[in-house]
Symmetry: C2
Subunit: 316 residues, 2 copies
């Protein structure tokens, strides 16, 4: 049994690798929901959907989000009315949100709806939102203009609307105090042979997962079998603002910085070959360090990385 | 100034005729919202949209609802998940509902959102939902099976899901007691030169309009200038279940039955040439009666009918 703590794109690729190494039915992803939002009345779960669509081979390969072969007619109408268009929603993708929203309104949990969506795509992996409770990542940005200095905005306002190109002074996870782990989350961590922390953004993808009370302790209890894959390669994020966020929030944008964030919960850090010279510095943070090619440019690269990560976590 | 009490398809055509006779900027439609529903999280206003799309020349000519040149990709996704598909929503049409839902969530009234949607389609008519408050038509059906005898269902469950082919024993307008007329509604009735009751379903289209406290009295006060166009021709409805509903609820499915429903509020009833032999029976109900071709099969027919109706209502 393998459990993967997951954000969106990087985790989706990691899961694509892991499911080549072990049977998909033995793989559980515990997925960030801090990116979730309600927009146009629709409950949108970007990370859950990115993983589902990726594993189903239906992700839009150009964007890394949304569905392939999309049409954009609903958004064209919204644009006609002068509505909110900065968060792109393709028509097929909207169908996922329509279904999720109706089911939630009917009283289903996000866990239940997610299981049904995953099943509809013929996937055998288990996708668990880290919590069924509302958990929303909020970002306080440095900005002279609008909103004023120190104003707090929703994660997608930061990430999509502002293209994550505005400096950040703080991140918090609204609702975490009263959130509880979704059914199966703690068990999936406790029973896993290996727990993988995917190469997702440590602050805004993995951060919300650890923010749910009980999750961090559960992972820490498995530390020898916990393997984190660094999302930072040669000081930079492959995609997204992880590098700048780390720096802006006082961390180091390097594999050493990642090691400091994860050393309490993960026994091993997998770093890229480009950072081989930092392996000893990682070890100095109290983690084992594995150097490997970590860029999952194709399914074979993802499989190779998964095999290395799972091997590293298979400790007695 | 002309004010038209409106349901969906029949009213849309009537308004298409009226706006050929007087300037669109002098025409106000007061529109039924009892058909509105929240589905998939979206606030859908079928009658408002049917009128808007029709006047914009964008209605789907085959269905009489929805937009022309539609795609159905969102619904295909919903179908993949086994979600609710009996209420068809095209992708472009969904954009209207996305916009409306977001605006309502942001605190706008349905009146305000409707005005913006109408403006976006470059229409000059004023469309007023009869109320900004929740008003929902509920139908109690006779049914041996599911739901059980006498069960109450939402209007669209009756109209669309069951194709209005199940007998009805009662209709009520949930929320009417506390609903108030939307801004401009009472004034549009009071100030109109002529008030037209469109050839919409008297029970479930015009019924909810009159159910909003204050509207019936306002129309009754204008009785000499109120002209109803019969939706019943030769005992039958051109479209929809008006004939059966009238019969099932104890009325007569004829222009005389319509006259009895409207005689308290409308001075004149326009009936079709097919019912010319019933003109005296209509007059016996205390209304003036105008016989005219009432089937609006094309814009010219709608214009002709509008000219006759407006002429009949232009009483001192």
């Amino acid at each position: 049994m393998i459990t993967v703590l997951s954000g969106g794109v990087g985790a989706a690729r990691m899961l694509g690798g892991v499911t080549q190494v072990v049977k998909a039915s033995e793989v559980t992803a515990i997925v960030n929901v801090g990116d979730d939002l309600v927009l146009h009345g629709l409950h949108i779960s970007p990370d859950l959907d990115t993983i589902t669509y990726t594993l189903a081979g239906a992700i839009n390969p150009e964007t890394g989000w949304g569905l392939v072969d999309e049409t954009w007619n609903a958004m064209s109408s919204v644009q006609r009315y002068g509505g909110i268009t900065w968060f792109g929603l393709g028509d097929r993708d909207i169908g996922t949100h329509l279904y999720r929203t109706q089911r939630l309104a009917d009283g289903a949990t996000l866990t239940e709806v997610t299981a049904d969506i995953v099943r509809a795509w013929d996937l055998k992996v288990t996708l668990l939102p880290v919590t069924d409770d509302p958990l929303r990542t909020k970002v306080t940005i440095r900005d002279d203009d609008t909103p004023p200095e120190g104003a707090e905005i929703g994660f997608q306002e930061y990430f999509v609307q502002r293209h994550h190109d505005v400096p950040v002074r703080g991140v918090r996870f609204e609702g975490f105090e009263t959130a509880t782990p979704a059914p199966g989350v703690l068990a999936a961590i406790a029973k896993a042979d290996v727990v993988v922390i995917a190469p997702s953004n440590p602050i805004v993808s993995i951060g919300p997962v650890f923010a749910v009370p009980g999750v961090l302790d559960a992972v820490r209890a498995r530390r020898p079998n916990v393997v984190a894959v660094s999302p930072i390669i040669a000081g930079a994020a492959l995609k997204g603002p992880a590098d700048r966020l780390l720096t802006e929030l006082g961390h180091e944008s390097s594999v050493v910085g990642v090691a400091r964030l994860y050393s309490a919960v993960a026994g091993t850090l997998v770093i890229d070959e480009a950072d081989a010279d930092l392996a000893d510095a990682v070890r100095a943070e109290g983690m084992r360090c594995v150097v490997a090619p970590t860029i999952m440019r194709d399914p074979l690269a993802a499989k190779t990385l998964a095999r290395i990560a799972l091997g590293a976590g298979n400790q007695r």
